[in-house]
């Protein structure tokens, strides 16, 4: 079990660790007290994954460039 704070994990890492946690618990290869801790960790990882999946907001912007081609800001994209 990794001690890395779940809040810092990317979606991919959180998902991978969640899979590991479930696998371990299903195989029944951990002592009882440890399995409770694992379950708690799994629940946190699940929340993290769900949170990342909720961030499915589309935000499209076009960069505005100055005469030298240096970005100056953004504006909504009118892709037609």
């Amino acid at each position: 079990m990794s001690d890395r704070p779940v809040a810092e994990m990317s979606f991919e890492d959180a998902l991978r660790e969640l899979e590991e946690v479930v696998g371990k618990l299903e195989r029944g290869e951990v002592p009882l007290d440890e399995s409770i801790a694992l379950y708690e960790r799994g629940a946190k990882l699940r929340k993290r994954c769900e949170a990342k999946l909720q961030e499915a907001e589309e935000k499209v912007a076009k960069l505005t460039l100055d005469g030298d081609g240096t970005p100056t800001g953004t504006e909504p994209l009118d892709a037609g």
């Binding site: 998902l15 479930v22 799994g42 499915a56 499209v60 076009k62 460039l65 970005p71 994209l77 892709a79």
Partner: protein, 517 residues
């Protein structure tokens, strides 16, 4: 200030009409380039309905329009095709009505690999030699990028296709860096955009993308040429942000494709590579969640079950001791009894055995054995003599019975038997012989009655001429000599000389009777 503009002084420069100038240019060009050879890559080729051939020759910077008139086409070594590197041969002329100059090509020959492609190959080799295409340089793409930077034209189908596909799979933050996707500005702008995205600081005013897509729709090799430029390839190679290239159609391969971390066949495919499908992930997480709960519940329940199972199997401690004590009592009691019984039984057997064990007993058995032995020895010699005597008597008896009289009697009896049988045999043989003789005679007399000699006895005669039987007067006339046979003999009749005696050979009828036996 003058209210009326004065016309500017024309000076000494002669004034041409357009056609005059056009004609002068035509003469100048035709005079100067009346016979040229030009090497280039064939671009667009058009065979007009009139039968004339129009095509472009080009290098990496300029294009030369060429024409070959219908009648000249048979003189060409090869009909030009797009992409072909050729050497054309002809004269330069102009097309005044469109202010155009062009080559009237009377000969076109293949010159080798297209110059553009050759240049691209050269660049490719140089960058490859630098290791820019090496697989170990490729960066892994993030599983789920937060911000995607797209370098492409802000208008058109490409950005629309990418945004569409992203929305379907997993809506993300997208930053578009607009660039020219063809022409001379294309390469520098694309290179700058890639570098510019890399220069952004994570979490800054403009969010730095964690994935880049460089995209362009399909087009001719010239249209896509910007993405073959070295500065673009180098910018892509230098990008610290993982980069997907999606330039042109699946069949187009440009230099940036070789240095990109992934090459997508189309812009939409780039979006598919960029993000996973959100709904699938939600489903995956839901499943993992239910498995997690089930696994932990099962874990506790299973342990509880095992505890109760084991508890049931655990025996009471006093039960354990009672049983052992009872068994101990039982066996310790039997131990005493067994020991005592065993000792007394042994004593009894010992005293019995010892009681009858005396020397007299042994001596008695010895004496009896000796007695038996002497008895048998005494009887041995008489028994042998008696047996010999008996055999001898039997022999004498048998020898007495063996006398020649018996054999002689048998011999004389046998001889009589033989004699009697021989007599009978002779009698039988004689009787059979007589019977056969009588039959033979009967048959012979039958034979005689049937023969011609019997006919002779009845007064007939046989006439022979020259030894053969004569049946007709004609034959008799022809014969040299005649002979008559009667029953009592033969008589030759004169007819000249007497016939030479011939060996009698009766011909009429020599009945072949065969053998009756």
């Amino acid at each position: 200030m003058d209210l009326i503009d004065e016309p500017e002084k024309a000076g000494n420069t002669p004034e041409f009409t357009v056609s005059e100038l056009s004609g002068a240019v035509k003469r100048a060009i035709e005079g100067e380039f009346g016979h040229v050879r030009v090497k280039g890559e064939v671009g667009r080729v058009v065979r007009a309905r009139s039968g004339h051939l129009y095509f472009d020759l080009k290098d990496d910077r300029n294009v030369l329009a060429c024409t070959t008139w219908k009648g000249q086409i048979p003189g060409l070594s090869v009909i030009p095709e797009e992409g072909m590197e050729v050497v054309a041969h002809g004269r330069m002329t102009t097309f005044g009505s469109q202010s155009k100059y062009q080559l009237n090509a009377v000969e076109v020959a293949v010159a080798g690999v297209g110059a553009l492609m050759a240049m691209l190959e050269k660049r490719k080799k140089a960058l490859q030699a630098e290791g820019l295409f090496a697989p170990e340089r490729k960066q892994a793409l993030p599983f789920l990028p937060d911000v995607i930077g797209v370098v492409t034209s802000a208008q058109g189908a490409v950005i629309r296709d990418i945004l569409h596909r992203l929305r379907d799979r997993f809506p993300r933050k997208v930053l578009v860096w607009p660039v020219a996707v063809q022409g001379k500005d294309c390469a520098p702008q694309v290179a700058r955009a890639i570098a510019g995205f890399n220069a952004m600081t994570p979490g800054g005013a403009l969010p730095r993308p964690d994935l880049l897509i460089v995209a362009r729709g399909g087009g001719s090799i010239e249209d896509l040429w910007g993405f073959n430029e070295e500065e673009v390839a180098r910018a892509a190679a230098a990008s610290m942000i993982p980069l997907i290239s999606a330039v042109g159609h699946e069949t187009d391969t440009t230099l940036i494709d070789f240095v990109a971390d992934r090459r997508a066949p189309t812009p939409s495919a780039a979006a598919e590579i960029a993000v996973p499908v959100r709904l699938e992930l939600i489903n995956d997480v839901d499943q993992l969640d239910s498995r997690l709960s089930r696994a932990v519940t099962e874990g506790v329940r299973g342990r509880k079950q095992r505890v109760s199972d084991l508890a049931r199997l655990l025996p009471r401690p006093d039960m354990l001791v009672e049983d052992a004590r009872q068994r101990f009592d039982y066996w310790s009691e039997r131990l005493d009894l067994a020991l005592k019984g065993r000792v007394s039984a042994g004593e009894l057997r010992l005293s019995r055995a010892a009681g009858s064990l005396r020397p007299g007993l042994l001596q008695g058995r010895l004496d009896r054995a000796r007695e038996r032995q002497t008895g048998w020895s005494a009887r041995l010699a008489p028994a042998l003599a008696r047996a010999a005597r008996d055999k001898r008597t039997a022999f004498a008896h048998q020898a007495g019975r063996l006398s020649p009289v018996q054999i002689e009697r048998a011999i004389s009896k046998g001889r009589d038997d033989v004699r009697a049988r021989l007599d009978r045999l002779r009698l039988v043989a004689r009787t059979a012989q007589d019977r056969r003789q009588a039959r033979l005679e009967a048959l012979d007399s039958l034979r005689r009655t049937l023969g011609y000699t019997e006919t002779l006895k009845r007064g007939y005669a046989v006439v022979r001429g020259d030894g053969d039987v004569v049946m007709t007067a004609k034959a008799a006339g022809k014969a040299g000599s005649l002979e008559l046979e009667f029953a009592d003999g033969k008589l030759a009749v004169g007819k000249g000389d007497a016939p030479r005696p011939k060996k009698a050979k009766p011909k009429t009828p020599p009945p072949d009777q065969g053998s009756l036996f």
